[in-house]
Symmetry: C2
Subunit: 248 residues, 2 copies
């Protein structure tokens, strides 16, 4: 009996520390390759797993939506358990749901939310080492919030785009950019209709320059209008970044 | 110039995942050995690092007090930075303080607090894999709280002592044992004047049996009075356990 072709949306959680990123690369183990290998065992042949977006090496996900198509010989709940039993502890399928044949995790994404964690203390933290950027200088929350407020809205974010990007349009809409602090742990949470390459890490790197007092928050509008990557701050390291949610 | 002998109290945070435990063993790398090696580089000779208590392989610490003695050629703040620069990212010294010569991290401990994390969900969690025990069966919080309440107070906890313990007295006083739930994550937090070998993991293993409905919470008093390890539940795995605080 041939099972019908299904388009299954997987929601995947991962600790990216040990991987070369979501996407398969020449070097290193990718999260994509491990999911495709597990799917391959179930289907008897390899089938592509398409995520809502790539995440860099060391970046994590609470909920990365991933599309897989195939003649699966089991229901969604059984597929979810089978996949989880084949994946290492740092990759977990949170849900599996058969969706419409034309649903596409990349193209149909409306809003994405990323969270970035900063460990702001003179001393490092062992329990946050894999999941936060350690910034030693005390950060001025008010200055960072001021800089962040100027980013909200529809802008050309070329100044915050990583090098070697092949993308054409660089206009995106940020609908919220919130910064919070709880003792030594700061979080920057940003929601937009899409993100350029390394955009969140470049935003965080720039806001941290403002928090350190090295850059005036009033300059944010000017940095955006410059459309010049060299005007913004450095790229924050990957381990503080989490893909939190994608809305369709 | 000879520097005076000092007794320094270090507060150490660690992610125990990659270690054979606090104490040096024949096999594996211990947290103690790495700290002693770093101290040895500063002093020019090895000196013992004595913790408030051992933690097993895979167990973590937010704040493990550790005594080190030596003719340190720098002040406490410089010692702290020097040690942190020599230790791997998953071990961090949070503070260093010169204390009275007779202060002893083990003998002077009055109260210790441990926290245990349970990921209670049908699906595993990638981001909690290193720091929580995954329990699939839904746990009944009320039953667990009932069992926990019967443990508070001064008791002989032989029923919760791991095998091969050489300790003589088995009476301890639990001053609080609290269980909380936030979505899928449960925490068991216990404070006592001391703990027997694997006592927290055996308490959690027993409370989880009650939460699963396999053991009646009303039986807790009887389990304690039996002074028999086979009457209590199984030992919970190490990765959910954190040494949180030691009071002197």
């Amino acid at each position: 009996m041939k099972h019908p072709l299904r388009n299954v949306l997987l929601i995947v959680e991962y600790d990216g520390t040990n991987y070369c990123g979501w996407q398969s690369q020449a070097k290193g183990v990718s999260i994509q390759s491990l999911i495709e290998k597990a799917i391959g065992k179930i289907l008897g042949k390899r089938s592509p797993a398409l995520a809502s977006g790539r995440t860099d090496a060391g970046v994590h996900a609470h909920a990365q939506p991933v599309n897989v198509r195939g003649h699966f010989p089991m229901d969604d709940a059984t597929l979810l358990r089978a996949l989880n039993s084949m994946l290492p502890p740092d990759i977990a399928i949170k849900s599996a749901l058969t969706v419409a044949p034309d649903f596409h995790a990349i193209r149909n994404a409306k809003w994405k939310t990323y969270r970035y964690q900063i460990w702001n203390s003179t001393e490092k933290s062992a329990l946050n080492a894999r999941t936060a950027w350690h910034v030693v200088s005390p950060l001025n929350l008010a200055a960072m919030k001021k800089g962040a407020a100027a980013m909200v809205g529809k802008h050309d974010f070329s100044s915050f785009q990583g090098a070697h990007s092949s993308i054409k349009g660089t206009v995106r809409t940020i609908i919220s950019l919130e910064i919070k602090r709880r003792d030594e742990l700061m979080t920057v949470e940003v929601t937009a209709n899409g993100f350029l390459k390394q955009m969140v890490r470049n935003i965080v790197g720039t806001l941290v320059e403002m928090g350190r007092g090295r850059m005036e928050p009033e300059r944010m509008k000017e940095i955006i209008s410059a459309k010049d990557r060299t005007k913004a701050g450095p790229t924050a390291p990957p381990q503080g970044l989490f893909l939190v949610n994608v809305e369709y």
